[in-house]
Amino acid sequence: MIPMPDLRDRFRSLDRLPAPDLWAEVADRAQAPQKTNWSFALGAAAVVVLLAVLVGLQLRSGALVGGPGPSETAPPATSAEPIPSAQPSPSVQPSVEPSPSSDLPPFTCDLPITLVAVGSDFRPLITQDIRVGTHDGYDRIVFEYDSGTPALELDVAEPPYVRDPSGLPLTVAGSPVYRITLTGATKYDTETGEQPYQGPTNFEPGFAQIVQFVEFGDFEATHNWYLGVNGGDCLRVFHLTDPSRIVIDVQH
């Protein structure tokens, strides 16, 4: 490629712009709580450290039950008070677990529910599949990813419900309505231009609890959904590996 000297000279004119010294701002920001809109890159790093700290605490307190489990074993879901609830101690928790597997975390009615990212890197995770199903005792939503799982926050959503970032109004059936935010995930692989998941982004399955499950935003590596349910307020959220999945169960 032969560069055009003319064009290169014109770009040199940029050097006349007086650049501000931003180093003080950098140091301030690094210490301040991170802003969600920017956070996926560093959120991923921070939550991995948080996870390591939590695991460390569990090991130290001897609360980790048994040895390392099989890969299908769901790690405990974390809630607003991650350390106590992260300890699987059935004697303390009211027994609301359904029969299928005692490895699953208990349902919780305490919101918000948060989940740390696992194995994610600077690059956002690409959604491979989204499934909604009903089971004996609960309705289930599954997000599947190419590698690792994003950070999740689930909390009650207040109307008006709007699409992000357009701000266009959206109606969501069911009550209460939850907002699910997956940070560090997207359906679009901007590097390859591919979109592995091309299925629905609005589910109205008519299940016992899930009335409507609708996407309201997928941009800047933040994937947002509303979940309208039928009065139920106890949920459990956990990871599964191989393939990497996030599971959200709504108790019947």
Binding site: M1, M4, F11, L22, V26, A30, A45, V53
Partner: protein
């Protein structure tokens, strides 16, 4: 308690990268976004993210460039599509080559990033690939298309 605090040496290393790359990165982002404030935001945030990460980054300059361009591209996407992505001329210092900035504003993000890194940051194709996360083939294609489009817009003759 283990917290995400960067060590003193990691901070010094990053500041050295900032002193070396910061101004050029900022100007490249002004060219990319057409908005000095957005450029400042992206530079500060990219370096802050690197600082919070501490010592885990291999190639700091490339990482910071890539993070800053991603942040800037993300911010541009948040703007309503009906608004001209390059703000009014009064928004930029008059000393800038405004025709160039407006022409750049008409290029798609990837072409614009490739052209700026090539012509302003003097980065070779391999380095542009590292700093944008594109493949080298994609860089070549975007560079070629971007340069042609820019030439058409500016009415330059190839020298």
């Amino acid at each position: 308690m283990v917290i995400v605090a960067a060590t003193a040496s990691a901070t010094q290393e990053l500041e050295a990268v900032y002193r070396q790359e910061g101004d050029r990165l900022w100007r490249a982002l002004v060219a990319f976004a057409g908005d000095p404030e957005l450029a400042s935001e992206a530079v500060a945030e990219a370096f802050a993210q690197a600082l919070r990460r501490g010592t885990g980054i291999n190639d700091l300059p490339a990482w910071v460039w890539r993070a800053a361009f991603r942040i800037a591209a993300g911010e541009l996407k948040r703007r309503p599509l009906t608004v001209d992505r390059i703000p009014d001329r009064g928004y930029l210092p008059a000393i800038a080559d405004l025709d160039l900035l407006h022409a750049l504003g008409k290029l798609p993000d990837k072409q614009r990033a490739a052209v700026i890194l090539f012509y302003y940051a003097d980065a070779p194709v391999r380095e542009i690939a590292r700093r944008t996360g594109m493949s080298q083939i994609s860089v070549r294609a975007n560079l070629s298309r971007g340069r042609k489009r820019l030439k058409d817009l500016l009415g330059d003759t190839d020298a």
